[in-house]
């Protein structure tokens, strides 16, 4: 079997008659087979996808499965260390940290995903247009990106949230804006390389206008590399949202959110109650780690050339 596939793969255009038997029809489940292959090839990717699935499930059903109400304080059990009743212990108001960590997943996940979607649409399209059209479009978009890059990014995010107000929407917008240059640069470089490619010329000959070429021909081709970018910024977005909350500019207490929880717990570390800051911090770390690892796997999944 291997022998025949080998010769088939290596042979030059065989006469049509013999080809018919050798053809393996692409199956419908090939994407799943491919996903399985990508994961077996690289166990780390498999682990990342597993963790990602866990985070997504917790974000979805977390509030319904937690043992305690994340907002209910219990003055009888403040600052209790981890135990069978309170797995991650309780904080200074006696709230169950495990429940709060699980419930916070949804908020942090939503902030990360929506800011990444926003910046992908804005930065991605601006970048592709800049790379493809060049000239004034390019100058405008690139200088805008440079201007944003000129600020310390976290300080810029702080400024935006402080100016627009402490809401989840504004955190999303601020996170999207500071990631804008990264998307513009990647998309611009990739589109620029493909501007003169044969298939783009061929698309012109086929009567495609510029915008159709951008959307239907160039965009799908730069998706693999954009996927890596998405997963990297996803981790960064979560960290950024938590950072803003940590310094008091993000989500307001008592809403459970990893950043605030770390901030609240930080004061108690010196007095020995390490669990208040540790568990939300660990959750944050695992989430960022997962998103960063996801990149390579995602690229392999969306690249048809890997699907041989």
């Amino acid at each position: 079997m291997t022998e025949t596939t080998a010769t088939e793969a290596l042979s030059i255009a065989p006469p049509p008659a013999t080809v018919a038997q050798a053809v393996v029809k692409p199956e419908n489940n090939s994407i799943f087979r491919h996903a399985r292959y990508v994961m077996s090839e690289n166990p780390v990717t498999g682990m990342a996808f597993g963790l990602f699935a866990l985070i997504a499930v917790l974000a979805l059903i977390g509030p319904y499965i937690v043992p305690h109400d994340p907002l209910a304080s219990d003055t009888a059990a403040t600052l209790a260390p981890p135990s069978l009743h309170h797995w991650f212990g309780t904080d200074q108001l006696g709230r169950d940290i495990f429940s709060r960590v699980v419930v916070a997943t949804r908020l942090d996940f939503v902030i990360a995903v929506s800011s990444v979607v926003l910046v992908f649409v804005m930065g991605g399209f601006a970048g592709i247009a800049a790379g493809f059209f060049g000239g004034w479009t390019d100058r405008l978009v690139s200088r805008l990106a440079d201007t944003i890059m000129a600020f310390p990014l976290f300080v810029l995010a702080m400024g935006i949230v402080a100016a627009l107000g402490n809401t989840v929407t504004n955190i999303v917008i601020a996170t999207a804006i500071i990631n804008f240059p990264l998307y513009v640069r990647v998309a611009r470089a990739e589109a620029n390389v493909r501007r003169e490619a044969g298939f783009v010329q061929a698309a012109r000959l086929a009567g495609n206008g510029d915008f159709r070429i951008l959307l239907a021909h160039i965009l799908p081709n730069i998706m693999p590399i954009m996927m890596v970018q998405i997963s990297l910024t996803m981790g960064y977005a979560i960290l950024n949202a938590a950072g803003l909350s940590f310094i008091g500019l993000g989500v307001k207490p008592p809403t459970p959110e990893w950043g605030i929880m770390v901030a609240e717990g930080a004061a108690n570390i010196i007095s020995g109650e390490w669990w208040i800051a540790l568990f939300p911090g660990a959750a944050l770390m695992i989430a960022v780690f997962t998103f960063n690892l996801l990149g390579d796997g995602l690229r392999d999944l969306v690249d048809p050339q890997r699907r041989t």
Binding site: M1, T2, E3, T5, A6, T7, A9, L10, S11, I12, A13, P16, V19, A20, V23, K25, P26, Y37, A197, G198, F199, Q201, A202, A203, R204, L205, A206, G207, N208, G209, D210, R212, H217, P220, N221, P304, Q305, R307, T308
Partner: protein, 578 residues
């Protein structure tokens, strides 16, 4: 010569040992679908001072064999069986340290793309010095003189100046000379040249091959020339090994292989090689030629108005230089005339209805620029392009894509891989022009695609594949199907077979001829391969440095060329000893 033979080690029975002795070699690659045997139990011997050609089409394992000899297979590949003896040394058992010492000093390799083989940000002189120092052929005091000497030996003019040049400042042929200089700097005994002239112009090819042969004679080196071109191998080698699908099919002296090819595959390969004095059908195997029937060859009736008339077409590009930019920045005077480069310099020609015209010239002569202007992908500087009575040259290129005229002029690109969107299936690629420029319904689309695929001989199962799942010939067919989808009047063929194997080229050329006859299209066939042009074209235009040096009926231009340049081009084609 005798002093060399004296040094040849002798085996116990007294016969001269071959320099390279490959026995029962099998190379395997571990892939996702299991192990692939790229080379299967082959035997190759190479005597001292001999030039051996390894000929085969893509996938025949000819390059893999040479990589195995040099032990530079990539991680997935390994030598599964057999032995490789270099003089008395077992290369299969040699350590990596020994191999590193041998490579470059005793055995060297020239790769296909000279530009990729050179480090783009180092001066060529320094790159040669690296090799010399690496193998202790010179000390730091004498190394620059030695490097210049090496450059001189590969006939690079003004070596002292060129020593300081970067690869991008040199032409393709010049770069290949530098690569040869690198390979030969340490006077190795074995040189492996892997498609050394693919991608070079014929005249450059001749110069490079003559140089390689001369140097190997001079230094009594052994050379392995790996090529897909049987004619080239037969013209420059003592012996030829023909490979197919990892097997050695035939080994013969190059003088006899053309007269009495032993194996059916060799015969097929020889048949498919374009050469003077034959017709397109002669390229195909007998049974296919019989099935294809005679060529109809409907040429334009006299007196009809030509389909395309080009007059005084000019394309200028601004020369980019510091002086120009500064002048522009301060906006003193308008950019003077000398600061523009004329890629196409006032050419005029006509293409009749149903006629195929060849546009020939070496790289940089402006033939691609001309075809891009006719295609309305770039704007002209001046001149007229009259297409069926309308000056399409006056329409800006960026507006042309959506006009109805777009349907009537299509193109087949040089690189079938590059010209297909990697994310589109074959069917989607063929359907693209139909969706944009015809009023075809979604329902009929699939059947139309299947009709086109049948027309170009692409099996229907391949329609749902992505380009990387298709072979070169299949991709070329997809490109052709896409070009004829709208039934255009004029197709520009930009070296459509340059990236294909000869047997596939033979089929594609016949297909193009048949399509032209059945659909009544006109072709502008842009090529550097005069033998191919001779087969397909009614008339030829020869270009040099943006100007037309000669044009006329194919027979007349090929058999009785008027211009010196045409004669040079014709003389540079390798002539196998038939």
């Amino acid at each position: 010569m005798s002093d060399v033979t004296d040094k040849v080690p002798l085996s116990h029975d007294g016969a001269a040992l071959p320099l390279l002795d490959v026995r029962n070699l099998t190379v395997e690659f571990a892939t996702r679908r299991g192990t692939v045997r790229a080379v299967k139990n082959i035997d190759i011997t190479l005597a001292k001072g001999e030039t051996l050609g390894i000929v085969g089409e893509s996938g025949s394992g000819k390059s893999v064999t040479s990589y195995a000899v040099m032990r530079i297979l990539d991680r997935a590949g390994s030598i599964a069986e057999g032995s490789v003896m270099f003089s008395n040394l077992d290369l299969r058992a040699a350590s990596e340290t020994d191999m590193r010492d041998l490579r470059g000093r005793e055995m060297s390799m020239i790769f296909q793309s000279p530009r990729l083989a050179l480090n783009p940000i180092r001066k060529i002189g320094h790159q040669i010095e690296d090799v010399l120092l690496q193998h202790a052929q010179a000390d730091s005091g004498s190394v620059s003189d030695k490097a210049i000497e090496v450059l001189e030996s590969v006939r690079i003019a003004r070596p002292r100046e060129r020593y300081h040049a970067y690869p991008f400042e040199l032409s393709g042929g010049m770069c290949q000379r530098v690569v040869i200089a690198l390979a030969l700097a340490c006077r190795p005994q074995l040189l492996i040249a892997d498609e050394p002239t693919t991608g070079l112009d014929v005249t450059t090819q001749k110069a490079v091959m003559d140089l390689v042969v001369e140097l190997t004679r001079e230094r009594a080196m052994s050379t392995i020339l790996i090529t897909h071109d049987l004619g080239l191998a037969a013209a420059y080698c003592d012996r030829v090994v023909v490979m197919e699908k990892g097997n050695v099919i035939e080994t013969a002296n190059s003088s006899t292989i053309f007269k009495q090819p032993g194996h059916a595959y060799t015969r097929k390969l020889m048949r498919a090689t374009p050469r003077p004095g034959i017709s397109l059908r002669d390229l195909l195997p007998d049974e296919d030629a019989a099935r294809a029937g005679p060529i109809l060859n409907k040429t334009a009736a006299a007196g009809e108005t030509p389909l395309l008339t080009v007059e005084n077409l000019v394309k200028e590009y601004p020369r980019k230089g510091v002086a120009t930019s500064i002048k522009k920045m301060f906006g003193t005077t308008p950019v003077p005339e000398s600061d523009v480069f004329r890629a196409v310099d006032g050419i005029s020609f006509q293409i009749g209805r149903g006629e195929s015209v060849g546009l020939v010239g070496e790289s940089g002569c402006g033939k691609s620029t001309t075809s891009m202007m006719l295609m309305r992908l770039i704007d002209k500087t001046s001149g007229t392009i009259m297409f069926d009575g309308e000056d399409i040259g006056a329409i800006p290129a960026k507006d042309f894509a959506t006009l109805p005229q777009r349907k009537r002029i299509q193109m087949v690109f040089q690189d079938p891989t590059d010209s297909l969107n990697p994310r589109f299936t074959a069917a989607r690629a063929i359907a693209d022009p139909l969706l944009r420029l015809s009023k075809i319904g979604r329902g009929e689309l699939r059947s139309k695609c299947e009709e086109l695929a049948t027309q170009v001989g692409l099996p229907l199962e391949f329609l749902d594949r992505f380009p990387h799942q298709l072979s070169g010939g299949q991709k070329a067919r997809v490109g052709i199907a896409r070009a004829i989808a709208l039934k255009p009047d004029l197709i520009v063929l930009d070296e459509p077979t340059a990236a294909l194997d000869v047997s596939v080229q033979a089929v594609v050329l016949n297909l193009l001829q048949d399509l032209k006859d059945s659909l009544g299209m006109s072709y502008l066939f842009v090529s550097h391969d005069l033998n191919v042009v001779r087969l397909l074209c009614d008339r030829v235009i020869v270009m040099k440095a943006g100007q037309i040096v000669e044009q006329g009926p194919t027979e007349r231009v090929m058999d009785a060329p008027q211009a010196d340049y045409t004669r040079d081009l014709l003389a540079a084609i390798p002539h196998p000893p038939i």
